[in-house]
């Protein structure tokens, strides 16, 4: 009714917008590079990492081994490529668990807002939230022994309340919209409304959050493998490579440098992509949030 409301501090500078779309591209390039590395590793790696080559152990980067070799003489580039597989698989599955369980729970809680069911779902979420994924992994490992599956379950469980909370809070605000009321007037039930009207309108937000949880999953997987709670040898994993490199760090820093960089760049790529996607989906947020 009035002219658009304006705050004195508003309208972000074009500098941000330009940088943001550039960050989306950079993020995509980084992410796709590592996804490609993981995929290529299924058919080809420079060296077989199951063969040990003690004669060539702990060599720095060279024309033969671009990123050098480790303490068993294995090619670090090959191990990083296969490690990308582990990282990405664990993170993707963990995000999948979180979404497949968390989103329906959030939708359900929002549809029955204020009810006992809502209360129970949200309290349970709070409870799960009190267990950092590392602690879940510790518990699972002490009961069943370490493995990549444990890492997936531990990170996945931690993702459930993340998605459930986000879904519930965005669904709650959508439930206030008149078009939901119109759908109720048209006799549609809560399940149908959630499916037809709520879910499509939170998909973008879920994609953004999924990207962020994906990157957190990569970090968590690296941490778990580093302390031996994740993927076990002979499966290559970035966190394990770092753990192995620690003893040699004073005279073979390349062993620590490259796997760490791989983690850093993948996570950075995913985060940039998440930020970029958020801006793309919602221009109102075009101001560089977390």
């Amino acid at each position: 009714m009035s002219d658009q409301s304006l705050s004195p501090v508003q309208a972000s500078s074009t500098l941000w917008i330009a940088l943001r779309s550039r960050s989306l591209i950079l993020g995509l390039v980084l992410t796709l590079t590592f996804v490609a590395a993981a995929l290529i590793s299924f058919v080809w790696v420079p060296y077989d990492i199951t063969t040990l080559d003690i004669a060539n152990k702990i060599k720095g980067p060279s024309a033969l081994h671009w990123l050098g070799t480790d303490h068993y003489g294995r090619d670090i580039l090959s191990m990083i490529m296969q490690g990308a597989r582990t990282s990405i698989a664990v993170a993707v599955l963990a995000v999948g668990i979180g979404m497949l369980i968390g989103v329906p729970l959030g939708l359900w809680a929002a549809a029955r807002r204020g009810s006992l069911l809502d209360e129970v779902i949200m309290r349970t979420n709070d409870l799960v939230f009190a267990f950092p994924s590392l602690l879940i992994a510790v518990m699972i490992t002490s009961a069943f022994g370490p493995s990549a599956t444990n890492a997936i379950i531990a990170i996945g469980i931690f993702n459930i309340p993340v998605f459930a909370r986000l879904t519930r809070s965005s669904a709650l605000s959508l439930w206030q919209r008149d078009y939901i009321l119109a759908a109720r007037v048209a006799g549609k039930g809560a399940a149908r409304i959630s499916w037809e009207h709520i879910l499509p309108n939170i998909t973008n937000m879920m994609i953004v959050q999924g990207t962020i949880q994906f990157s957190l999953g990569i970090l968590a997987e690296a941490g778990l493998s580093y302390v031996g709670l994740g993927a076990q040898p002979p499966t290559a994993s970035w966190g394990r490579m770092l753990a192995d490199s620690q003893t040699f760090i004073s005279f073979a820093p390349h062993m620590a440098l490259f796997p760490g960089l791989a983690i850093l760049l993948t996570v950075l790529g995913l985060n940039l992509m998440g930020d970029g996607l958020r801006d793309l989906f919602d221009p109102k947020l075009r101001r560089g949030r977390t």
């Binding site: 009714m1 009035s2 002219d3 409301s5 304006l6 705050s7 004195p8 501090v9 508003q10 309208a11 972000s12 500078s13 204020g114 919209r177 008149d178 078009y179 009321l181 119109a182 759908a183 109720r184 007037v185 048209a186 006799g187 549609k188 037809e196 009207h197 499509p200 309108n201």
Partner: protein, 533 residues
């Protein structure tokens, strides 16, 4: 003496662009001490932007040219620091949305005192004393509204008084009020307008009041300026402007403000909707694990009937229970006692709403922007009510139904392939009406359906509604807070207060000779255009 010399605020040939987009073109206005200037325009006319330009509270990327003189200062040549010295001291401002205009974390006393502390080197104690005076002048005496209150403990009207107290605490020469009552109920609106007028008269302050509503401004302003698309198209003394206005836009605006659609009611005698002794109460969430739940009675024993072909108005202020009643009629909520029947059949049978009845009952909501799922195309949006039918039309029949509904509301059948964001507010409201029409209902509930529209669009939608009611034999329940709209489109009216109907009767009769004190208060508070236009 020239106009400039005696003015508090003089705007000459002001042009404004934001990031290169032109917003204002050659705007010239002036306000003298003790004078009230009303600026009127529809959305996008640039009226608020003119106000923000005077305060230099503009968004980034804004560029002004021309001249703004404020209490003897050339605003456009002042530095930001100098401007900060003027804001709050020489000029105060009141905003549209009182619910969000105050910092929720600070007491009202602190927030009013802050204005004083910003500009004068006095102790906090003294500032609080003067804040108390300012609040008292804004009719929030300390014995009833302690200064330690937080904004959330006050109603919308009371919060607006706090904002006014902040704006007048230093007795500025000029007050700018941007749609100060748009978010408020009509009786509160009347009180706030009265307060502003009193403050102007007492202090000899100038007032620039911005509104979309001709009637609001006509009542109180000395001078009126009408804006359209960033230009002032008409200016003149309020007393004579309505007679002398020349510009086609101003005339169209005035015509639309007083517009009443031609209606030839075809009322039958049989009651279509019967509401009998309906009671609906809510249990509020418990305040603690151990406390007793609180119960709010939203609708207390309401009874009325709507005859077939009739247009019935329902007026009342926010919180009177009209939304609850609407939801009960729509079968969205069960009532605790009483019965609602449409054509003799109950809206609710057992624990489930009755689909048979609901098909004959549709609704149009207030907000043209929130009423549609942005991810569906128009065809899917308008056919949603078919969900109530046991065998909804398929294929060609469905296409024909869509085309017919869209044509009926003045849109093209081709529009069904578009998304909702491709339409303007008025067009969206037409689509909402098409959605309501598609099941060929008997009764349509219009829940503040024209309240969010600009006055010219509102007139067109009212015409459309009158036309449709004749063509399809529709019955309307028209819920509104706006008495002039109710007068123009309804046959009978109900007045609701605190969950009860306090008065009902023929619309003309109730609005011209109200019997109940509350109705009298409402009618008296409603802003009115001068009789002779």
């Amino acid at each position: 003496m020239t106009e400039t010399d005696m003015s508090l605020l003089t705007i000459e040939n002001l042009s404004l662009s934001i990031h290169g987009t032109a917003i204002l073109h050659d705007v010239s206005l002036s306000v003298a001490p003790g004078q009230i200037l009303g600026v009127i325009g529809e959305s996008g006319s640039g009226k608020s932007m003119t106000a923000f330009a005077s305060m230099q509270l503009l968004p980034e990327g804004a560029r002004c040219t021309g001249r703004i003189s404020l209490a003897g200062h050339e605003v456009l040549s002042l530095t930001e620091a100098q401007m900060c010295g003027l804001r709050g001291k020489a000029v105060g401002m009141v905003f549209q949305e009182p619910m969000t205009a105050l910092n929720p974390l600070k007491t009202i006393g602190d927030q009013v005192a802050e204005t004083i502390l910003m500009h004068e080197k006095i102790s906090r104690r003294d500032a609080m004393t003067r804040a108390r005076d300012a609040l008292a002048r804004a009719e929030l005496p300390e014995d009833r509204f302690p200064m330690t209150r937080y904004p959330h403990e006050l109603s919308g009207g009371q919060r607006q008084r706090v904002v006014i107290a902040m704006a007048i605490a230093l007795r500025p020469a000029l007050l700018i009020a941007d749609e100060p009552t748009t978010a408020l109920d009509v009786t509160t609106q009347a009180q706030i307008l009265k307060l502003l007028t009193r403050l102007v008269r007492e202090d000899g302050m100038g007032l620039l009041i911005i509104s979309h509503d001709l009637a609001v401004v006509a009542d109180m302003a000395d001078e009126i300026a009408i804006m359209q698309r960033g230009r002032v198209v008409e200016r003149g003394p309020a007393k004579t402007l309505f007679q002398t206005m020349q510009h086609p836009y101003s005339r169209a605006l005035l015509a639309a403000s007083t517009h009443a659609p031609d209606r030839t009611p075809g009322i039958n005698d049989d009651a279509l909707l019967v509401v009998q002794d309906v009671v609906r109460s809510y249990t509020l969430p418990r305040k603690s694990l151990f406390g007793a739940p609180r119960v709010i009675q939203a609708v207390r024993g309401v009874s009325f009937q709507i005859r077939r072909g009739e247009s019935l108005g329902l007026v009342g202020e926010s919180g009177c229970g009209k939304s609850t009643l609407t939801r009960a009629i729509l079968g969205l909520e069960k009532v605790q006692s009483g019965e609602i029947t449409l054509g003799g059949q109950p809206v609710f049978t057992g624990h489930r709403p009755n689909p048979e009845v609901r098909r004959r009952l549709q609704v149009v909501f207030q907000d043209p922007y929130g009423s549609f799922n942005p991810r569906h195309r128009v065809a899917r949006l308008v056919t949603e009510p078919f969900h109530l039918s046991e065998n909804p039309p398929q294929g060609a029949a469905r296409a024909a139904a869509i085309a017919e509904a869209l044509t009926a509301v003045g849109l093209s059948p081709e529009d069904q392939h578009k998304y909702i964001h491709e339409f303007s507010g008025g067009q969206r409201q037409r689509i909402a009406i098409a959605r309501a029409l598609i099941t060929r209902p008997d009764l349509i509930i219009l829940d503040e359906a024209v309240s969010a529209l600009d006055v010219q669009v509102r007139a067109q939608i009212l015409d459309l509604l009158a036309d449709l009611s004749e063509r399809f034999g529709l019955t309307y329940l028209f819920i509104s807070h706006d008495l002039s709209v109710v007068r123009s489109i309804t046959d009978r009216v109900l007045v609701m207060k605190l969950g009860e109907i306090v008065e009902q009767g023929q619309t003309e009769q109730v609005l011209d000779a109200p019997q109940h004190p509350y109705t009298q208060q409402l009618v008296a508070a409603a802003p009115r255009l001068p009789e002779n236009v």
